[in-house]
Amino acid sequence: MLELRNINKQSGAEKHLSDISLRLERGTLNVLLGPTLSGKTSLMRIMAGLDRPTSGTIHVDGVDVTGVSPQKRDVAMVFQQFINYPSMTVYENIASPMRVARADRKSIDDAVQRAAALMKLTPYLDRMPLNLSGGQQQRTALARAIVKNAGLVLLDEPLANLDYKLREELRAELPRIFAESGTIFVYATTEPSEALLLGGNTATLAQGHVTQFGPTIDVFRSPVDLVTARTFADPPLNTISADKTGNTFVLESGVGIPAVDAIADGIYTIGFQPHHLSLTPSGAEAVALRTVVAALEITGSESFVHLRFVGADWIMLTPGVQDFAVGQEIEVFLDPRLLLVFDGTGRAVGQTPALAA
């Protein structure tokens, strides 16, 4: 078990991490989700022992390892850039952690062949890493991490620079490979969809804070605050401020949305995912909203419709190719049961969307 207690990291006047406490259990997959510069890499470097936290401690199975060098920790790490040893062959690159650990030839060869087969690198073992494609270079780095068989595996956006197809393939493969060894698997990503595909637990990071940590689906369905909800939404979360009076959220335009939970009257921010807007009412309670089309992006099977509603800019994700003219006024529908409600300080209140995701 890896435990971070009140980790702070400051470099000069900049605060990279503030008061982070996390407990990662053995055999779990943990996703660090956050935009660039949110502190994912800083946190991973501290977990690996490459950097020392400014304050706070790190415990592995109850033992304080805060100042212990990475050599003495049971850890493997893969960086976002393709990092290999350019002067060694792919085989030697993969074998390197075992060579340093003075394993015998036979077990090195077995482990390297197994990892190379998993990463589909067998034909390239005699090549130099710089003569490989980017994907193959990163798979070499991943194979090295597999061979190390460490208790803590840190992958810092390992698939970010790979092509789409390879990414899909490896994303499915990686958790399975590392799950077998009962390791603590930590995976940093900027993409909410990647976190959802990986499953496991997710810690959302925003500006050096862990805003929420828990099972990925729970974090996605019921974010504790607006920041988490925004971090965990791609395309961006749609929000609008609403005045709750009685059983209704009154929007600026005067449109009312029925409020499900009994919460105090006042000003709230309501949020909902882009795919919660639809062109046809999803049920009897769906609220109709008149919006203006601001832009249209078509991916083929889906359309992202950028909408303007009173003062707010929204995005609607809707299936099929939609053909709207910019400036056209259209009616969209929102299911009030799917709303996320946040109070003035950004904390989520009451309402837990029952049918979210």
Partner: protein, 298 residues
């Protein structure tokens, strides 16, 4: 929406008429440059190689021919000058001395510069930029400035007339240069390579020797070349700090005046032999030097 099409349609015929004379002019230019293309490089090579040719030419002549007549090639071809150098200890010991202190200096410079350059490329510390610049300023002073202090200092330690004295004195100029060159090459290696090695379990010395040094091998080659060349051609300090036992070849060459006058032929042969090591070293590191230029150093 139709604008781009229209302009494109209007431009095309005009472009065609303009293109023709322009093409003709270009053809003319290539033709004339083909005709005169040989001239500049030929002149360049003649001017560059003439002194070297003359030196080689002289080294195979007898003294009478050198002083007596103007000949473009040796009429009376002789190897006597080279025989003198390879048989007379006072000559060939100069080469041995030079090679000893040059190699010593190159090794010391690299051993000192490698860790220093690593520190400059990987760590930020108070005044690092100033210190880096200050190192380089050492190269801005002429060696003559340091001749007297070195002589005084080494006399006190009994180092005068040893190979070590010259090797150490040249370090003053070569270490900063080597640090500067190596820092450029090291900064080209991402820091994550170091970190990956630490995570893999490499200790720092093991990482440095087994992973890092092969990565900057070309930088080490270039730095070694510059240390070698400076130390090989430097005359003033080498002559000041030696008397007999460690006298370098360049110093011996300046003392060939004897009662019978100057021995031109032997001197020319010594000159040829002095050029050869430098030429050999350049040949071996020529590709690395190009790489060094590409990295913005050297």
């Amino acid at each position: 929406m139709t604008d781009p099409d229209m302009t494109a349609g209007m431009v095309t015929p005009g472009a065609a008429t303009i293109a023709q004379p322009r093409q003709a002019a270009a053809l003319n230019r290539t033709r004339s440059s083909v005709r005169l293309g040989w001239l500049v490089p030929t002149l360049y090579i003649i001017f560059l190689l003439l002194p070297i040719y003359w030196l080689i030419n002289m080294s195979f002549k007898t003294n009478q021919e050198i002083t007596g007549a103007f000949t473009l090639w040796p009429r009376d071809f002789t190897l006597r000058n080279y025989t003198v150098i390879f048989t007379d200890p006072s000559w060939y010991s100069g080469y041995i001395n030079s090679i000893i202190y040059v190699v010593m200096n190159t090794v010391i410079s690299l051993l000192v510069a490698l860790p220093a350059a690593y520190a400059f490329s990987r760590y930020r510390f108070v005044g690092d930029k100033h210190l880096f610049f200050w190192l380089l300023t050492n190269r801005m002073a002429p060696p003559a400035v340091f001749a007297l202090p070195f002589f005084q200092l080494y006399s006190a330690f009994g180092l005068i007339d040893t190979h070590l004295a010259v090797a150490l004195a040249h370090c003053l100029f070569n270490v900063p240069l080597a640090v500067w060159i190596l820092e450029g090459f090291m900064s080209g290696v991402p820091k994550e390579v170091d970190e990956t090695a630490y995570i893999d379990g490499y200790s720092f010395p093991l990482f440095f020797v087994r992973i890092f040094m092969p990565l900057i091998a070309s930088g080490i080659g270039v730095a070694a070349f510059f240390c070698f060349m400076f130390s090989w051609v430097e005359l003033l300090l080498a002559r000041t700090l030696t008397t007999t036992d460690a006298k370098p070849i360049s110093a011996i060459m300046t003392r060939t005046v004897s009662a019978s006058g100057l021995d031109w032929g032997v001197l020319a042969a010594a000159g040829v032999l002095t050029i050869i090591p430098g030429a050999l070293v350049i040949y071996f590191v020529r590709n690395y030097i190009a790489k060094g230029f590409a990295l913005g150093r050297v």
